[in-house]
């Protein structure tokens, strides 16, 4: 019963000091908005990564030269050769396909348009391993692969930049000064989690890249896809053993190559994002506490300003607990309002940010509820001290207060 009146009184008080109330809650608004934005964007990123795992191609392993601990670019590395890929395909059980690749950064030119992109020398296994389809055109034929024919398949970004409103199939483009015919265009895949454009590449038969552009027999990386139900850990082991043997690494000498399970990497990335999200949300929650201090500050000012009012209420017969409740509710209403506003701002802001970053917009309902409860709790904890100060006033002293 008194509770209803206390809420009415709080509402009136807050309305009466509109500007001050707004500024008081600003801290809570920002804190809550920050928590919500961090969590929402973090969840979006995680969702994006999970999505990515599917897109990369299921059960994909990535074999690259370079010690596993240092990453591919470290130190002098001995490249693979085509024969390594063939050996894997021959000797490791449970594989769907093995795709050797050789990559090189190139300038692609068509007419007046040119575009800096990544050239991948591949064979027909590449599309199988990456579970990639063609939007138009056709894949490489066995003859073209064997002879290293000057034909290419464009990623959608390259197509868009070279061919403006023009049909690319059958045209001839120059890739690193080698003229080649466009025979297909890959289906678009968009951006990866890390923000890199997956459609920004040109495919050419491996042999064509090795002979015409790289001028060597190197294979940069070998993509391996495991059959469903096969253990990627076992395949990882088998490939490692085979490669150590082929590269004459004996005893306890370290590998000079790495076999990575992309799903594992993606899982790790998702986990890392999760931890990062929690961390950022925790930092944001601290700003929510700072907002609470703002509320405490203003409530203390308000109690002092309203000392006489408190005296009148006490004389009229208000009990200490009713005075306490009145100020506590005022603080809670303030902070909960800030919470609701902050949730709105946080969701709105992360919706826009998610669109800009091309992330999925995932509302985490429990976090929204927790954020609201937390903001109200901030009001209770930071409103308590000023409210208790009000409730402990001596009516005679309060009535005489100027």
């Amino acid at each position: 019963m008194f509770l209803t009146s206390a809420f009415q009184m709080a509402a009136r008080q807050i309305r009466r000091h509109g500007m001050r109330s707004a500024l008081t809650t600003l801290g809570v608004v920002i804190g809550t908005a920050a928590v919500i934005a961090m969590v929402t964007l973090g969840r979006g990123t995680t969702a994006r990564i999970s999505d990515e795992i599917g897109k990369i191609g299921r059960n994909l392993l990535f074999v690259a030269p370079g010690a596993p601990r240092h990453g591919a670019a470290h130190g002098r590395v001995t490249a693979f050769a085509l024969e390594d890929a063939r050996a894997i395909a021959r000797e490791v059980r449970g594989l769907v396909a093995v795709a050797p690749t050789a990559m090189a950064p190139v300038l692609a030119v068509y007419g007046n348009n040119n575009w800096r992109t990544m050239l991948s020398g591949v064979d027909h296994n590449f599309l199988v391993v990456r579970e990639w389809t063609l939007a138009t055109g056709r894949a490489f034929q066995a003859g073209e692969e064997r002879s290293g024919a000057a034909v290419c398949i464009l990623g959608d970004t390259v197509r868009g930049n070279l061919f403006v409103g023009e049909e690319p199939l059958g045209r001839s483009i120059r890739v690193a000064n080698v003229s080649c015919e466009v025979i297909g265009v890959l289906a678009s895949r968009g951006r990866s989690t890390m923000g890199e454009d997956q459609d920004d590449l040109v495919l050419m038969p491996l042999l064509a890249v090795q002979r015409r552009i790289a001028g060597n027999q190197d294979v940069g990386a070998i993509l391996v896809s495991a059959a469903d139900g096969e253990s990627t850990a076992r395949i990882q082991e088998d490939i490692t053993r085979l490669m150590r043997q082929r590269r004459h690494i004996t005893g306890d000498k370290e590998d000079d190559f790495a076999v990575r399970d992309l799903k594992e990497l993606a899982d790790l990335a998702a986990r890392t994002t999760g931890i990062l999200t929690t961390l950022l949300a925790a930092i944001a929650a601290v700003s929510l506490l700072v907002g609470g201090i703002g509320i405490m500050n203003i409530m203390l000012v308000s109690v002092t300003e309203r000392t006489r009012e408190i005296g009148i209420r006490l004389a009229i017969g208000a009990r200490a607990r009713e005075i306490l409740l009145q100020f506590l509710i005022e603080a809670v209403v303030l902070s909960a309002m800030g919470g609701v506003l902050g949730i709105g701002v946080g969701l709105g802001g992360s919706y826009l940010a998610a669109r800009a970053l091309e992330l999925p917009f995932v509302i985490d309902v429990p976090i929204v509820i927790i954020a609201f409860v937390f903001s109200a709790a901030v009001g209770v904890s930071f409103g308590f001290f000023p409210a208790r100060k009000a409730a402990r006033l001596d009516p005679i002293v309060a009535l005489r207060f100027e």
Binding site: M1, F2, T4, S5, R16, R308, E309, G311, I312, R313, L314, A315, I316, G317, A318, R319, A320, R321, E322, P395, I396, L399
Partner: protein, 237 residues
Amino acid sequence: MIAVRAELPAPPLVELQGVDKVYGRGDAEVHALRGVDLGISAGEFVAIMGASGSGKSTCMNILGCLDVPTSGRYLFRGVDVATLTHDQRALLRRNFIGFVFQGYNLLPRTSAVENVELPLTYRGVERAERHRRALAALRDVGLEGRELHTAAELSGGQQQRVAIARAIVSGPDLLLADEPTGNLDTARSLELMRLITTLNQERGLTVIMVTHENDIAAFASRVIRFRDGAVVPGKGA
């Protein structure tokens, strides 16, 4: 015996027995009240007079259960107030006592009717009923048509009427008025006294009023005089 008893005045509504009030300690000690004895019966209209600093307000605060005696007993309807908790004294004020102060003490920026509703809020009266009763109380003090004005929009006399409406809206037994006309001119003071007299006579409201002025005290049926924290013996107490 029975016959003698029937001639005695009605049992007192409030009774002070040897009440002392000491403020501060040591050198700063102030004896505001020294052995005050007095009894006031239901339905009386008593004026308390005395020089400034003679302990009138201190006595009113004790009678209003806003403060407690340092020693001695204060009986409200026979109950020793010293035995009550803080909350119980608040409830006693809520249910039995109305206050009027020299400085009106209305809530600022709050309409007259909302000021008058305030005591009913703490008594848990429904909003609509609260409003209805507050309007009625304002009508009783002659403030019809001023219900929505805030303190700043009312004259001193009108503000003090709002304060009286607030004091009587919950139907108390006792009205405590500490220099209610202290800030008013003579004409306004006399109007206010007529209002208080009416409440005393028509509703049987017990009134205890502090005043400096003889013509205001003249409205009361009994005058108690204070000097140096004690009641001056003689007619009155």
